[in-house]
C-alpha cells in the first residue's frame, strides 16, 4: 500500500494526522504529508479525509496456492546412527494423516551412515526414505541440520512436516521455521486432518497444561509441528511393506556452522524433578515398609515414573522430603498421578489435583481421594501394583 495525498483537494485540516497512531501523517505548509518510513500500513487513516484528498489501499492477505505441496514428512531423529524412539511414533501418526489425505509418508534421515536404517523406517510405515549421508551430519549441529533439512524441503515441497518435540527437535524446528518462513506449532499431542479444508489440525497443551489449543497454519507449507514423544502410536513393523530409498547429495560447504562442540557427555538419565515428571507414582502410609517402597519402585520403574509420597511417608523416614507432594511439599501436574494408599487429605490434594489423570488405589471405598480420581480402584495396593507391573512388563 501507499497512501497518496491529492494536494489540490487537501486543505490541511489535520483529520488524517489525528487518525494516525504512528505520526506518519503530518501537516506541513498547510498540506498533509505521508511519511512512508513511519507508516505501518495499518489503514487507520483511510476513512479520515472528508475531502477525498487521501487515498490508499490496504494490502490484503491471501492464502497462497499450495496445490503442489504434498505428502506427510517426518524428520527422523538419530543419535550415533541409532534411531530415536520417537521416529516410529511419528511415522505411525504420519501414516494416519497421509491415508486421510490420500498421500504418501516420506521420511528424512541424516547422519554419517544411516542408509541401513531405511528399511526399518519403511517397515514401520514410510513410503519413501530420503537419506543424506555425510561425516558432518554424524552429530547434531543446529545450523548444519537446518541447512540440510531446509534444502530438502525446498526441493521436495512437503505438505506437512513432523519433528519430535525433543531437545533436538525444539532446537531445530524453530530455526528451520524461521529460515523457511513456516508456521510452527509446538509440542503437539494430537494431530488430524480437517475433513473440509484438508489442512492439519494441530492440538497442543499450553498454560502449563491448563488449556488445549487447536492451531492451523494456513499461510505456509509445509505445515510444521513438533510432536510430543510418547503420545503417538507406532505401527507394528510389517516386513512385506516396500518403499523407495533416495540418497541425496548436498553441497555441505554451503552451510555455515558458527559453534564448536568441545565435549559431549552422555550420562544415565538423571532423576528428573517431580515438577517435570510425566507420570508420578505416589504412596501413602501403607507403603511405610521396605516391601512397600519396593512395590512402589518396581511399578514406577516399569512405567518410567517418578516416585512421590505423602507427608506421613517422609515423617516415617521412608523417603526423603524432595518426594513429598502437597501443601508443604511440591506441586505437581503430571499426565498421570497414581495415588496408592493415600487417603486424600486436603493438604495432599492441594499438590496434585491439577494432574491430568488421577488414578486412586485404596482399600477404603469412602476414602476422599476417590473424589478427585478419574479411575478408582478399591483394593489392596499390594495386589494391584504388582499386577500392573506384570501387565506392563508382559506387553
Amino acid at each position: 500500500m501507499a497512501v497518496s495525498i491529492d494536494v489540490d483537494k487537501c486543505n490541511g485540516c489535520g483529520m488524517c494526522s489525528r487518525s494516525c497512531p504512528y505520526l506518519a501523517l503530518v501537516i506541513e505548509d498547510k498540506k498533509a504529508k505521508w511519511l512512508e518510513e513511519r507508516c505501518t500500513l495499518c489503514g487507520a487513516c483511510l476513512e479520515s479525509c472528508k475531502f477525498g484528498a487521501l487515498t490508499g489501499e490496504m494490502p490484503t492477505r491471501e492464502v497462497p496456492d499450495f496445490s503442489d505441496y504434498r505428502d506427510v514428512w517426518v524428520f527422523v531423529e538419530q543419535h550415533d546412527g541409532a534411531l530415536h524412539r520417537s521416529a516410529f511414533e511419528l511415522i505411525g501418526c504420519a501414516r494416519g494423516l497421509a491415508d486421510d489425505l490420500g498421500q504418501k509418508v516420506a521420511v528424512a534421515v541424516f547422519g554419517a551412515e544411516v542408509k541401513g536404517q531405511a528399511q526399518d523406517l519403511i517397515r514401520h510405515g514410510a513410503d519413501r526414505c530420503i537419506v543424506v549421508e555425510d561425516p558432518g551430519l554424524a552429530y547434531y549441529r543446529t545450523c548444519t541440520y537446518t541447512h540440510v533439512l531446509g534444502e530438502i524441503i525446498r526441493g521436495y515441497k512437503p505438505g506437512i512436516l513432523l519433528i519430535a518435540a525433543t531437545h533436538l527437535g525444539r532446537d531445530l524446528a524453530p530455526r528451520l521455521a524461521r529460515r523457511m518462513g513456516l508456521g510452527l506449532t509446538a509440542d503437539c499431542t494430537r494431530l488430524s486432518i480437517d475433513p473440509e479444508e484438508k489442512i492439519l489440525l494441530q492440538t497442543r497443551p499450553a498454560f502449563g497444561g491448563n488449556i488445549m489449543a487447536t492451531i492451523v497454519s494456513r499461510f505456509s507449507r509445509p505445515q510444521t509441528a513438533t510432536v510430543r514423544p510418547g503420545i503417538m502410536k507406532a505401527l507394528e513393523p510389517d516386513a512385506t511393506r516396500t518403499g523407495e530409498i533416495v540418497v541425496e547429495e548436498l553441497d555441505m560447504a554451503e552451510c555455515r556452522e558458527f559453534t564448536h562442540v568441545l565435549e559431549c557427555v552422555l550420562q544415565e538419565k538423571k532423576r528428573a524433578d517431580l515438577a517435570a515428571a510425566k507420570i508420578i507414582v505416589a504412596g501413602g502410609r501403607p507403603v511405610c515398609s521396605e516391601r512397600g517402597i519396593e512395590v512402589l519402585r518396581e511399578f514406577a520403574e516399569a512405567v518410567g515414573a517418578e516416585v512421590a509420597c505423602t507427608r506421613v511417608v517422609v515423617e516415617e523416614g521412608f523417603l526423603p522430603v524432595e518426594h513429598q507432594v502437597g501443601q508443604t511439599g511440591q506441586s505437581v501436574r503430571p499426565e498421570v498421578y497414581f495415588a496408592c494408599g493415600i487417603s486424600g487429605a486436603i493438604q495432599h490434594k492441594a499438590g496434585m489435583d491439577g494432574s491430568r489423570y488421577i488414578v486412586a488405589i485404596n482399600k477404603d471405598p469412602d476414602a476422599p481421594i476417590f473424589g478427585v480420581a478419574d479411575y478408582a480402584i478399591v483394593g489392596d495396593l499390594f495386589e494391584i501394583l504388582p499386577a500392573l507391573t506384570r501387565s506392563i512388563k508382559g506387553s
Partner: protein, 265 residues
C-alpha cells in the same frame, strides 16, 4: 559488552484455574509475573556485568501493563528497558513475535549476547529464542545450564535429553537458559526508586518505531492461528474399575491408552 535480555510477562500458571461452567480461563486475581526462566536470563546478564562490565537492555513485547516487567528488570540492575507495545503487535504467534523482537534488537544497535528463557510458562512453545537468533543470523545455544564468557567468545553447557554438551560460540550469540543456571537476585530499593522515577531509562516503542508494517507483526503477520481452545478435561468423572487385580490392571492400561497415554514406554 552489550547484552539484551528478553523478558516476558506471564500469568502465574500455578494460579490459573478454569471456570467449570464456561470452560474459560479465569484471569481475575491471577498474578502477573516475569516468566520464571527470564529472571535467570537476567541474572546471567547481571553476573557477566559484575565480572566484566556490560550494558544491559531488557526488552519485552506486550500490552501496556507489561511495563511492570521492564521496571522490575531495571530495578534489579538492567541499565535500560524497552517495552514494545502497539495494537498492531496483538495476537502474534512466534513467527510474528520473533519478527518484532528481532527488529527491535536491530534498532537497539550493537550487541554481543542475547539472553532469553528457554520457554514461557503461558505459550509454552520454546520457539522464540531460536527464531530470534535465526532472524538476526546469529548462533543459538539452547537449554543452557552453565556458561562462561571468555575473550570474544562464550562456552556453555547445554542439557541434552541423555546428557550434556559443552559448546563454544563466537559473539554475537543468543542463549536460552534453564532455571538451573543460577539463583536470581531481587530488585533493590534503590533500583525500584530508579525504575519508578521520571528519568527512568525506560522507553516504549510502537510498530513504526521499529519499522514494522502491520502485515508483518501481530495477528496479521502470524503464520499460525489458534482456531479453538478448550480445557483438557471438565470435572472429573470417576470411573470405577472392578474385578481381580489382573483384570483391573488390564482395564486401567486400556483406559489410559484410549486417552493417548501409554504406560511403560
Amino acid at each position: 559488552m552489550n547484552i539484551v535480555v528478553l523478558v516476558k510477562q506471564v500469568p502465574n500458571t500455578h494460579d490459573v484455574r478454569i471456570d467449570p461452567k464456561t470452560g474459560n480461563l479465569i484471569r481475575e486475581g491471577v498474578e502477573s509475573i516475569i516468566n520464571p526462566e527470564d529472571r535467570h536470563a537476567l541474572e546471567a546478564a547481571l553476573g557477566i556485568k559484575d565480572r566484566l562490565g556490560a550494558e544491559i537492555t531488557a526488552l519485552t513485547m506486550g500490552p501496556p501493563q507489561a511495563i511492570e516487567v521492564i521496571c522490575e528488570a531495571v530495578a534489579t540492575g538492567a541499565d535500560r528497558g524497552i517495552l514494545l507495545s502497539d495494537k498492531a503487535f496483538a495476537g502474534a504467534d512466534t513467527w510474528a513475535t520473533s519478527t518484532a523482537l528481532g527488529l527491535a534488537i536491530k534498532r537497539i544497535g550493537e550487541f554481543d549476547i542475547i539472553l532469553a528463557g528457554r520457554q514461557a510458562i503461558d505459550g509454552d512453545t520454546a520457539q522464540i529464542g531460536p527464531q530470534v537468533a535465526e532472524f538476526l543470523g546469529i548462533p543459538q545455544l539452547t537449554y543452557v545450564r552453565d556458561l562462561e564468557v571468555l575473550e570474544g567468545k562464550i562456552t556453555a553447557e547445554r542439557v541434552l535429553e541423555d546428557g550434556c554438551e559443552r559448546i563454544e560460540a563466537p559473539f554475537p550469540v543468543l542463549l536460552t537458559v534453564l532455571a538451573a543456571l543460577n539463583e536470581p537476585r531481587h530488585p533493590t530499593v534503590a533500583g525500584m526508586l530508579r525504575s519508578a522515577s521520571e528519568r527512568a531509562p525506560i522507553e516504549v516503542w510502537n510498530a513504526a518505531d521499529i519499522g514494522a508494517k502491520a502485515l508483518d507483526v501481530g495477528f496479521l503477520g502470524s503464520l499460525t492461528q489458534v482456531t479453538r481452545t478448550f480445557t483438557p478435561k471438565e470435572a472429573r468423572n470417576t470411573r470405577h474399575l472392578e474385578g481381580s487385580p489382573g483384570s483391573v490392571a488390564a482395564q486401567l492400561i486400556q483406559c489410559l491408552q484410549e486417552q493417548g497415554i501409554r504406560l511403560g514406554e
